[in-house]
Subunit: 319 residues, 4 copies
C-alpha cells in the first residue's frame, strides 16, 4: 500500500480535523503517502484531490468543522458514479481510503472496498447514532455546546419561573438529549427511544414548582418533535409560562473537546493500522473503552444502543 486517501462525508462534526490529522501522521510515519479529497464523495468523483504533508495537518487539531469540507452526495449510490470515483482513485494512485462520517458514508466506503479499494470508516457525527460504537467523534463536543447554552438559559429561567423546552440535535437518536438532559438536571427528557407521557411531565413540572423549584426544563430530542409543537401540547396540561428554544446548528461546530480529539486521534491511527493489515470494509468503533472494527455490512442492520439507564436515572432525580 503506497497511498491512502481521506475524505469526510455527511454532516460535519467537531474532531473530524483531529481524525484527518491522525490518519495523515500515522500514514506518513509508515512511509505511506496521503491524499486529501475535498467535499466527500462528490469531490472524489470530481477529482478534487490533493497531496497532504505533515504540514497540511498542523494547527488543525483544535479546529471545528473539517478542512476537507464535506457534502451529502446521494448520487454515489449509483454504480456509474462509483465507477467514476474509482477512476479518480486509480488516476491518483490511491490504494485505500479512510472515510470519516456518519454510517450513511459507509455504503459508499463498502462499494469501494468491493471494487478492490480497501476503505475503513470512522464514525464522525454529533448524533452518536452509529451502531457498534458507544461514542462517535463529535458527540462529546456537541453535548457540551448544548449544555453550555442550556446553563445560560437556566440563568434566565431562574429569574422568571419559566419552563423552557429546548430542542437539541440527534436526528433520530436521543443520545444528545439524554446526556445533556442529565447534565442540566432537566425535569424531563424526551427522546425517540422512549414513549413520553406529557401529562406526567406536566405533573412533574407542577410538583417541582409546588416544592419551591424556580424553573422548569424539558430537553427534547429533535427526532421526537419540534419545541414549539411540544410547547403547545404542554400548555394543554397546565397554565405554564413556557418558552421554546431550538439550539440549532451551533451544535455541529466549535473546537472539539479533549474527548473528541483523543478519540479521533486513536481512531485515525487505528484506521491506518487496519489498512496496513490489508483490511477493508470495516467500521471503527469504541465499545467499553476498547477500539473495535466491525464489518460495515453488520452496521446496516443494527441500531445504536444508547445508555438508557440515564433516562430512569434522571426521572428519579426530577422527583
Amino acid at each position: 500500500m503506497k497511498r491512502i486517501g481521506i475524505l469526510t462525508s455527511g454532516g460535519d462534526a467537531p474532531g473530524m480535523n483531529a481524525a484527518i490529522r491522525a490518519v495523515t501522521r500515522t500514514a506518513l510515519a509508515n512511509n505511506i503517502e496521503v491524499f486529501g479529497i475535498h467535499y466527500g464523495f462528490a469531490g472524489l468523483v470530481a477529482g478534487d484531490i490533493f497531496q497532504m504533508t505533515s504540514e497540511t495537518v498542523a494547527d488543525k487539531i483544535n479546529r471545528g468543522g473539517t478542512f476537507l469540507y464535506s457534502a451529502r452526495f446521494p448520487e454515489f449510490a449509483q454504480e456509474e458514479t462509483q465507477l467514476k470515483g474509482i477512476e479518480q482513485l486509480k488516476k491518483h494512485g490511491i490504494d485505500a481510503l479512510v472515510v470519516i462520517g456518519g454510517d450513511g458514508s459507509y455504503h459508499g466506503a463498502l462499494r469501494l472496498t468491493e471494487h478492490g479499494y480497501n476503505a475503513i470508516g470512522l464514525p464522525g457525527s454529533i448524533d452518536n447514532d452509529i451502531p457498534y460504537t458507544d461514542y462517535t467523534i463529535g458527540f462529546d463536543t456537541a453535548c457540551n455546546t448544548a449544555m453550555d447554552a442550556i446553563d445560560k438559559i437556566r440563568d434566565t429561567a431562574t429569574s422568571h419561573q419559566r419552563v423552557f423546552i429546548v430542542n437539541v440535535m440527534g436526528r433520530g437518536c436521543g443520545d444528545i438529549a439524554l446526556h445533556v438532559g442529565v447534565a442540566t438536571g432537566a425535569d424531563a427528557i424526551v427522546i425517540p427511544e422512549e414513549k413520553y407521557d406529557i401529562k406526567a411531565i406536566a405533573e412533574t413540572l407542577k410538583q417541582g414548582f409546588a416544592n419551591g423549584k424556580k424553573h422548569g426544563l424539558v430537553v427534547l430530542a429533535e427526532g421526537v418533535t419540534d419545541a414549539e409543537t411540544f410547547r403547545k401540547e404542554l400548555l394543554e396540561y397546565g397554565d405554564f409560562d413556557a418558552r421554546a428554544n431550538v439550539l440549532g446548528h451551533m451544535q455541529r461546530g466549535g473546537s472539539p473537546t479533549v474527548r473528541d480529539r483523543v478519540l479521533a486521534s486513536k481512531m485515525g491511527a487505528y484506521a491506518v493500522e487496519l489498512l496496513l493489515e490489508g483490511k477493508g470494509g470495516l467500521a471503527v468503533g469504541i465499545q467499553n473503552n476498547k477500539l473495535e472494527a466491525h464489518d460495515m455490512l453488520d452496521l446496516f442492520d443494527a441500531k445504536h444502543q444508547g445508555d438508557y439507564s440515564l433516562y430512569s436515572l434522571n426521572k428519579d432525580f426530577a422527583k
Copy 2:
C-alpha cells in the same frame, strides 16, 4: 438616609448581580443599611423584602441572572399599586431605592421618587436600547454569547457552503445585531433602524460565492422579523441553501464579561453616590466613557442612539 432598597425589574441581564453587589458594598461602606427586594415591583408590593449584608453579595459577581429575581409587573402603573409599594417601603424603613432594569422600570422608579422615595435607575438590559447610555449592563455579555454561537455555526457553514440567517435578540433595537454582525464578519446585518434591501443582500451573497467565499451569514435583529420569514423571502431572490437559526434565551444568561462586571460595579457605586447627594429620579448611563445621570423624564421621549457607522462599515467589508 439610613436604608436603601434594591430591586431588579424586567428582562434579566448578566451583570445585574454585580450591580447589586456594588450598590450593597458601597452603601454598607457608608453606614447605610441595605434591603433586597425579590421579584421587582411585584415583590415590593408583596413585601418580599429582606436585609442584606456584605456576605449576601459574596460570590455573586460572576453569576448570571439576578439573585433578587425579576418580574414584569405592569400593574405598577396604577397609582393604587404604587401606594401599596410605598407602604412596604415605609414599613421596612426604606428611604431610597436603586432600580436595575430596562427603562420600562424607570416609570415605577419615577413614581416612587415623586412620592418622596428617591430612586436611581441603572440600565440593566441585554438589548442596549436605553437612551442616554452607550452601553447597558448585560449588552457586552449577550453580544459575546451570540458571537460564540455564530462562530460555531460558521464552522459548519464553511463545510457546506450554506447561508445561515441568525436571529439575535434586541427587541426593537439593532445594537446586538450590529456589533455581532461586525464581529462575525456577516455578509449582511439587518436591523430595525435601517431599511434593508433583500435583493441587494441576495446579490452580495451570490457575489461572495462567485468570489470563492465558502459560506454566507446574515445577522438578523429579532425586531425586524424572524429568521424563517426572512429565509423564505431570501429564497425568492436566489437558489440558496439557507438555514434559519434563532439563538434564543441563552443570550440573556451566562457569566458576565469583564466589561459588564466593571460597568455594573461603577454604576452601582455611582447610584449610591447620587442618593447620598439627595438626588432621585435619575437614570445612570455611560456616555463617551463617562458616567452620567439624566432625569428619567428625559428618557421617556428619547431614543437610544447606536453606533450606526458600524452598519456601513460592515457593508464595505462584505464586498
Copy 3:
C-alpha cells in the same frame, strides 16, 4: 437505613456538586433522609452537619467546587479522632455515609465502615489517579480547562516560533498530561510513568522547526518536575526560545463538563444503591464503561492504570 451523610474530602474537583446532588435525590426518592457534612472529616468531627432537602441541591449541578466545602484532615488517621467522628454520626442519627474525594479519603471511610457505619467512596479528583476506575469525577473538566489554556498559548507560540513547556496538574499521575498532550498535538509529553529522553525531545523540536513547524509544545506533568527546571534542562540541548508556563489551580475549578456531570450522577445514584443493599467499605469506579465497586482495601495496594497507548501514539504524531 434511615439517614445518609455526605462529605467531600481532599482536593476538590468539578462534578463533586453533581455527585452530592445525585446521592441526595436518590436517597430522598427512597425515603432516606440526607445530611450534609461541611469540610470533610474535619467537619464531621466538629459536628458541622445539617439536613439537606431536594431544594438544597437545586441549581448546583453546573457549579464547580463543592458546596459542602472540603478539607484535608490527616488527624482522622488517629483512632481517637475517628471515634469523635462516630459520636457525631450517632448524635445526628446517621447510619451510613458517602465519601467523595481522592483515595486518601477512603481510609477514613473504611474506618467508619469497620465501626458499623457503612461508607461508600466516590472517586472525586482531577488527577485521575485512583485505582480501579478509568476516570475520576473532575478529570474530564480539568483536561478541558488545561487544553483551552494551551490552545490560547499556541496562538501566541505560532506567532513567535517559541517552545512552550506547560506544567499541568496530576500530582504523581500523568493522565492529565497524557490526554491533554494528545489533544493539543504536543511535540512531547512528559509523565512520571515513562522515562523521558530530553535529548530526543530536543531533536524532535529541532526536526519540527526544520520541517517548517512554527511552534513547539511540551506538556509536562507536575509529578515529573516543574516547568522552569525542565526549561533549563532543555536549553542544554539546543538554542530554543523556550518559555515555561504553570497552569495552576484553575485546573481544579470551573463548571463541570457533560462527562463529569453524567459520571457523577451515575456514581452518586449507584452509591445509594449499594448502601441500600447493606454494603460498605466499597469504592465506586467506572471500568470499560461499566460501574463497579471494589473493596477499598484492594485500592490501597493498587495503582491506577492509565491509557499509555496514548504516549506512543503521540510520539508517532510528532514525527
Copy 4:
C-alpha cells in the same frame, strides 16, 4: 496611493487578525492593492511580502494571534536596516503602511513616514499601555481570559479558605490587573501605578475571613513583582494558606471578544481612511468612545492613563 502594506509587530494580541482584515477589505473596496508582510519589520527587511486578496482575510476575524506572524526586531532602530526595509517597499511598489503593534512599533513606523512612506499605527497589545487610547486591540480579550481563569481558581479557593495571589500580564501597566481585579471581586489589586501597603492588604484579608469570607484573592500586575515573591512577603504579616499562580501566556491568545473585533475593525478602516487623506506618522486610538489619530511623536513622551477610579472603587468593595 496604489498599494498598502500591513505588518504586525511586537507581542501579539487577539484582534490583530480582525484589524488586518479591516485594513485589507477597506483598501480593496477603494481599489487599493494590499500586501501582507510576514514577521513584522524583520520580514519587511527580508522581503517576506506577498499580495493579499479578499479571500486571504476570510475566516480570520475570529482567530487569535496574527496570521502575518510577528517578531521583535530591535535592529530596525538603525538607519541602515530601515533603508533596507524601504528598498523592499520600493521593490514591491508599496506606497504606504499600516503597522499594528505596541507603541514600540511606532518608532519604525515613524521612520518610514519620514522617508516618504506614510505609516499609520494601530494599537495592538494586550497590555493597554499605549498613550492616547483608552483601549488597545487585545486588551478586552486578555482581561476576559484572565477573569475566566480566576473564576475557576475561586471555585477551589472557596473550598479551602485559601488566599490566591494571581499574577496577570501588563508589563509595566496595571490596566489588566485593575479591570480583572474589579471583575473578580479581588480583596486587593496591586498595580505599578499605585503604592501598595502589604500590611493593610493582610489586614483586609484577615478582616474578610473574620467576617465569614471563605476565600481571599489578590490580583497582582506582573509589573510590580512576581506572585511567589509577593506571597512570601504576605506571609510575614499573617499565617495565611496562600498560593501563587501565574496565568502566563494564555493571556495573549484566544479568539478575540466582540469588543476587540469591533474595535479592530473600526480602527483598521480608519487607518485606510487616514492614508487616503495622505496622512502618515499617526497613531490611531479610541478616546471617550471616539476614534482619534495622534502624531506618533506625541506618544513617545506620553504615558497611558488608565481608569484609576477603579482602584479606590475596589477598595471600598473589599471592606
